[in-house]
């Protein structure tokens, strides 16, 4: 089996690689995984076999559902699930759980938290999560990409009139989702998760220790405990739930952002336009941005490898945008970590991680809100299904089903963005080629289609070939110019 060969290769080369993966098992367990769920191994290939396994998936899923169906009926009460963290992931998970008839507790440490965030949501999120249009501050329909040598390219010509990128304030979005969860029947607890006690026997409950701040203004809260049957960890990049289950670490980028209030005349330029600056002065492995918010702009940059230089990178970003933000006043400075890849373990026992806690942020664009909300919903749906609307106890296998579905659905998106980042954020000539490519209409159409609808849509093969040709051409030209530049400096 070809997939078996791939698995062999992966497990043998893993051992001499510096990852934080717990490489305890030998090849055997991977083969075992292969037999029970062929769709996971197929998730490696980006080609059509994915489609072929879909009918097979239903057939092989059956045995796993039966296993959960044999778990004991929860008597006298519904299944209790705690969602730790009340951001987009926690809010949508809690809503789906509550709607599914499960007794849900949402524990959030700061109900008015203004999470520092780019705040961009794709169009599909508005539809899928029934977001009211008034929580969207701005509809961005134009973007400007600016290369290291300030070549500016406008993208957005191919957008249809109803398509846009929504800019939201996190405090507004998070509060709305939490409120909807509460309306569906979830209990919102204002508290800080401290630790959890892993149960000794198979079906005993988890004990969560948290500090409750309910009805307290300032001061320390009361230590409380809560017994639940399953936990969804949605507490963000520095997840404590992840630490409790030993999920392992990930590499993360630091995103640094300054909110700047600029004069109204300059604000009209950013009415529906966002900018992206690329260059090694702005970021060695990411990009700098100017995103419009409700009445000000957010100017920021990020990096994985050069975290110590973040202030210098931010100064460079402000310099590049100087003409357009001149006369502005910094009203807030914020920074936050962005995970670069999923944690080694996203699920352990009846605890699953979603959103930033799991590390579901894409490369290249650093998008996380949609994936957080979607993963929260998917995990909750898996729990609802595995417990038959709260009647039965769930098992780890039910939570693993959410992981399988997630990996299968979104793996192509993540991989494509990873490849884009590796190719185009590598060096200044690559960035110049990137901006040059963005001028092409076909590229713009593909980019926006895949961003707004989260579908990797295969286009016309002839156009794809032309695109590949042009990309290679751009890269070759830019690299040739760079070699000449090096000759100059020597």
């Amino acid at each position: 089996m070809a997939s078996l060969a791939i698995n062999t290769h992966l497990s043998t080369t893993k051992s001499d690689h510096k990852t934080t993966v717990n490489h305890r098992r030998s090849l055997k367990s991977f083969v075992g995984l292969c037999q029970t769920s062929p769709e996971t191994t197929n998730s490696l290939s980006l080609t059509t076999p994915l489609a072929k396994t879909r009918p097979g998936q239903n057939r092989t899923r059956r045995p796993v559902i039966v296993a959960a169906k044999s778990s004991p009926i929860v008597t006298g009460r519904n299944l209790r699930v705690a969602v730790i963290g009340g951001g987009p992931a926690g809010g949508s998970a809690a809503e789906t759980l509550a709607k599914g008839g499960i007794e849900t507790f949402l524990i959030e440490r700061k109900l008015d938290n203004c999470k520092p965030c780019g705040g961009a949501i794709p169009l599909c999120m508005v539809g899928e999560f029934d977001l009211p249009l008034d929580i969207i501050d701005r509809k961005v329909t134009k973007m400007k990409m600016i290369s290291p040598s300030n070549v500016a390219v406008d993208i957005g010509k191919t957008l249809k009139p109803h398509e846009y990128i929504g800019m939201v304030r996190r405090e507004v979005l998070d509060a709305y989702l939490r409120e909807r969860a509460a309306k569906a029947g979830a209990t919102i607890i204002n508290g800080l998760f401290l630790k959890m006690d892993i149960p000794e026997s198979l079906n005993s409950p988890y004990k969560i220790h948290f500090t409750s701040y309910d009805n307290k203004t300032g001061g320390t809260g009361i230590k409380q405990t809560l017994e639940v049957d399953a936990i969804i960890g949605a507490d963000g990049a520095n997840s404590r739930v992840a630490k409790s289950i030993g999920a392992g670490d990930y590499e993360y980028a630091i995103a640094f952002q300054e909110r700047i209030k600029i004069p109204d005349a300059k604000m009209t330029y950013y009415e529906d336009l966002a900018e992206m600056y690329v260059g090694s002065d702005v970021s060695p492995d990411f990009y700098g941005w100017v995103f419009p918010k409700c009445d000000h702009v957010a100017v920021g940059t990020g990096t994985v490898t050069n975290k110590g230089d973040i202030k210098k990178l931010q100064t460079a970003t402000r310099l590049r945008a100087k003409d357009k933000i001149l006369g502005g006043r910094i009203i807030r400075v914020e920074a936050h970590p962005i995970p670069e890849h999923p944690r080694p373990r996203r699920c352990a026992g009846r605890v699953a991680l979603v959103g930033d806690a799991a590390g579901y942020v894409t490369k290249c664009s650093g998008e996380g809100i949609y994936f957080a909300a979607k993963s929260g919903r998917m995990c909750a749906e898996a729990i609802v299904e595995g417990s038959e609307n709260g009647k039965r106890m769930v098992e780890e296998s039910d939570l693993r089903k959410y992981l399988q579905l997630w990996d299968k659905t979104y793996w192509p998106t993540y991989k494509v963005l990873d490849v884009l980042q590796k190719v185009f954020y590598r060096s200044n000539p690559a960035r110049e080629a990137f901006v040059e490519m963005c001028a092409d209409e076909y590229v713009q159409k593909m980019t926006f289609d895949s961003y707004l609808y989260k579908r990797v849509v295969p286009g016309n093969p002839l156009d794809d070939l032309k695109l590949a040709f042009n990309t290679i051409g751009s890269l070759v030209r830019a690299n040739a110019l760079m070699r000449e530049m090096d000759k100059l400096s020597v």
Partner: protein, 244 residues
């Protein structure tokens, strides 16, 4: 607690700089940054002999030198200095954010080599002195206007000559060596499968490994292609029957 941006701070530009950001009086400014303007001044003067149009560069240099000496004679920090001396990229052939091809004519045809040279110099300038991107003068130059044969002639052909030369040398030597060791002539060698494999390895090696460092680079690239996949599959590594 709001910081006013870009209004003249008290201790500004006593060191007029080519890179505007080094004029900010922050304590985090490392000494190396303030040395930079001087270095780039020197690099500009080294570009001088090779460029055709030096008028603007020389003028801006002179202006800078004059300002520097004036400021140095001032001694201590002057009070609110209104004008921050900034040099932007200027070149008479750079018109409206792109190269004016009419100014690159030689014998009635466009001198594409000169266009490439000019663009190289422009990118070098921007790399050393990042400028603010402006909406009034957007830069719209696209390297694809330079025809493919100009790129071929300038970049591909010399390298192809080099690589073909290497391959020919290796080929001749190996053919002689194999012939002297085994007695099999060149024509018979081409029919042998092992020799054909050796030939393939030689061609691939000459193409991919141009410098000694390329071997390490290739190994790292190979690892990179599957690294992300491994990170995603990590969660499936320890799946197995567990009692919780």
């Amino acid at each position: 607690m709001s910081i006013v941006l870009f209004s003249p701070p008290s201790s500004s530009s006593h060191l007029p700089s080519l890179s505007p950001y080094s004029s900010k009086p922050t304590h985090t400014l490392k000494p190396s940054l303030s040395l930079k303007p001087k270095k780039t001044l020197f690099s500009l003067s080294s570009i001088k002999p090779t460029s055709d149009n030096v008028a603007t560069f020389v003028e801006s240099e002179k202006k800078l030198e004059a300002d520097e000496s004036a400021a140095e004679s001032n001694g201590s920090v002057p009070a609110a200095v209104e004008a921050v001396v900034e040099t932007k990229f200027e070149d008479p052939r750079w018109v409206n954010g792109t190269w004016d091809l009419n100014q690159f004519q030689k014998d009635g045809k466009t001198n594409w080599d000169a266009v490439i040279d000019a663009e190289v110099r422009r990118r070098k300038w921007f790399e050393d002195n990042p400028e603010s991107s402006s909406n009034d003068n957007p830069i719209v130059f696209d390297t694809s206007i330079i025809p493919w044969w100009a790129w071929m002639k300038r970049f591909h052909l010399p390298e192809a000559e080099l690589l073909n030369g290497r391959a020919a040398m290796i080929g001749f030597f190996m053919a002689y060596l194999v012939d002297s060791l085994t007695g099999v002539g060149l024509v018979d060698q081409m029919g042998n499968f092992f020799c054909k494999t050796l030939l393939f390895v030689t061609v691939v090696g000459v193409l991919l490994i141009r410098k000694n460092e390329d071997i390490e680079t290739l190994k790292k690239l190979l690892e990179e292609t599957t690294f992300y996949d491994k990170q995603w599959l990590a969660t499936w590594q320890d799946e197995g029957p567990k009692s919780d």
